[in-house]
């Protein structure tokens, strides 16, 4: 049972990470900076609970703010470039953040123990959940509550004018400008929102794994972040969840019995899915028919 709860926790955090990329992808920007924002969120949240003794929720809020502000600041220069250039610029950002934490020592004495991030050794003593008597179930429920809140907010945004404007920018920047849309403001806002969500993901991640280090936040993680919404489809937030279940649930856990072969299948299946469903697992048409199935039955 604990195993499956643990899996749920992983899936929750990855869903948040995917959603953080989802917002940015809506504006047509491929950002591999999400792993960097997640790292910032993870370290900030963990330092606040461990070193400053803050309650978790306050720490998560601040972590999210710090990651969001960083995303905003990075957004201005980074969004001057497009397409592949942006991909590379954001790769550079994620690497800079990772290497910063690789060189970041900040330890204080706690009893006869040194606590805090210690460069390459990582940050080991994040014991908020066990110290406060949270069980795995509590943690899983808490994570998914946060996921549900973020999803609800994004789902609402998707149906609002803000969502339409984000997509409009993603579709055609020149036409969007010609409709009076301030591209920089829209893109930087999306980046900021994405950074804030990734920051929450990082804060949660730090607390359930209890040990974080720079090697958790690599380009590979950033690639997963964009993989979820792209594989799942950008027409709604549910695509991202579907992709997380597909990758973390089915490919990583469900196929475990295949042993070594699973990893081979992993890449191959991604290639296959993109060939069969280039707009993602849940593309606009699928969503429409699902809505017809579950929603109002017309005619």
């Amino acid at each position: 049972m604990d195993f499956y709860l643990g899996l749920l926790q992983i899936m929750g955090v990855h869903t948040l990470l995917g959603l953080s990329a989802y917002v940015v992808l809506q504006t047509g920007q491929v950002s591999l900076a999400q792993a960097g924002f997640m790292a910032i969120g993870a370290y900030v949240a963990a330092m606040l609970t461990v070193l400053a003794g803050w309650p978790l929720i306050a720490a998560l809020v601040v972590a999210s703010l710090v990651a969001g502000i960083t995303a905003c600041l990075v957004g201005f220069p980074a969004l001057r470039v497009h397409g592949l250039m942006l991909v590379v610029a954001t790769i550079a950002f994620t690497e800079i953040v990772r290497l910063f934490f690789f060189n970041f020592d900040y330890q204080i004495s706690r009893g006869n123990l040194q606590v805090g991030p210690l460069g390459g050794e990582g940050f080991r003593q994040i014991r908020y959940f066990p110290e406060n008597g949270w069980t795995t179930l509590h943690v899983a429920v808490f994570i998914w509550t946060v996921v549900a809140l973020v999803m609800a907010a994004l789902w609402w945004m998707d149906r609002s004018r803000a969502g339409a404007v984000l997509r409009a920018v993603g579709e055609d920047e020149i036409a969007a400008q010609s409709c009076g849309i301030n591209l920089t403001a829209v893109k930087v806002s999306a980046m900021t929102a994405g950074g804030a969500i990734a920051g929450i993901a990082g804060g949660l991640y730090a607390h359930y794994t209890t040990h974080i280090e720079q090697s958790n936040f690599t380009i590979l993680l950033a690639t997963f972040a964009i993989a979820y919404p792209i594989l799942g489809g950008l027409s709604s937030v549910f695509g991202t969840v579907a992709a997380v279940i597909f990758i973390q649930g089915f490919l990583v856990e469900g196929l475990r019995f295949l042993g070594d072969w699973r990893n081979l299948l992993f890449g191959a299946l991604i290639v296959l899915v993109m060939n069969i469903r280039p707009s993602g697992l849940l593309d606009a048409r699928t969503m429409a028919s699902l809505r017809r199935l579950f929603g109002r039955k017309e005619g």
Partner: protein, 248 residues
């Protein structure tokens, strides 16, 4: 309404637009014609700010806008359509207009909620009106990419109108249309003018432009070679030379 003074755009050595002076009075349909490559689209891109001006100035309703960024110009009273249609294909017809209507909301400093989230009743009414005007009322929930060509042209016009501009720039709106559709377009442009919007019309379709334009300017090699009423322009020898290649 719009005044271009000494407007120039150079690409390296090429003078795409060269010291152009134009004055468009409010409530006019102003036609801009010229052979291919004469600088018409560049002029539109200069007015909307997609290209930076090399020198000269642009004044809209008495206010200089030469250095303003594109989105500010467009939300402050200019709207346009594109020669090669640029819709938001994966958005519905309704959403296309909803996005553009934001420009008006921004101009009138509507509160945050109705600007970004719900959409006030006024917006809804305006969008519906623009849809009805363009004959797209029954297509509101269709994806823009799924519309037929003529419908896409109409949607683009509706999107431009949704922002309630003072000046509307139409970049070859009749391209690819059949005579029947052009007839409907003719009516629509007149109605737009009659509703108080100034129109700058760029068009290759001479019949249309001669029929509806109040005033016409002719460009060749980036320079204005003639300006006047349709009849005056048609009679101008420089225009005949530009179009037919011979004098007389």
């Amino acid at each position: 309404m719009l005044e271009l003074a000494n407007l120039s755009k150079h690409f390296g050595g090429v003078r795409a637009v060269d010291s152009l002076n134009l004055k468009i009075e409010p409530g006019q349909i102003f036609g801009l014609i010229g052979p291919n490559g004469s600088g018409k689209s560049t002029t539109v891109n200069l007015i909307t700010g997609l290209l930076d001006v090399t020198h000269g100035s642009i004044t809209l309703a008495g206010e200089e806008i030469t250095r303003l960024p594109t989105h500010v110009r467009l939300s402050s009273g200019i709207a346009r359509t594109f020669q090669n249609i640029r819709l938001f294909g994966q958005l519905t017809v309704w959403q296309n207009l909803w996005v553009a209507e934001n420009a008006r909301a921004q101009r009138e400093r509507t509160n945050f909620f109705s600007r970004w989230m719900g959409g006030d009743r006024g917006a809804r009414a305006r969008i519906t009106r623009a849809l009805e005007f363009s004959g797209l009322a029954d297509k509101a929930d269709e994806l823009a990419a799924n519309l037929a060509f003529g419908e896409q042209r109409r949607l683009e016009l509706a999107r431009a109108l949704a922002a309630e501009p003072k000046l509307l720039l139409l970049d070859e709106p009749a391209a690819g249309m059949n005579p029947e559709e052009i007839g409907a377009l003719d009516d629509r442009i007149r109605q737009i003018r009659d509703s108080g919007i100034t129109v700058l019309l760029i068009e290759h379709h001479m019949e249309l432009i001669m029929a509806i334009a109040d005033r016409i300017a002719v460009l060749n090699f980036g320079q204005k070679i003639a300006e006047g009423t349709p009849a005056e322009v048609q009679a101008h020898p420089a225009v005949r030379e530009a179009y037919l290649g011979t004098a007389g």
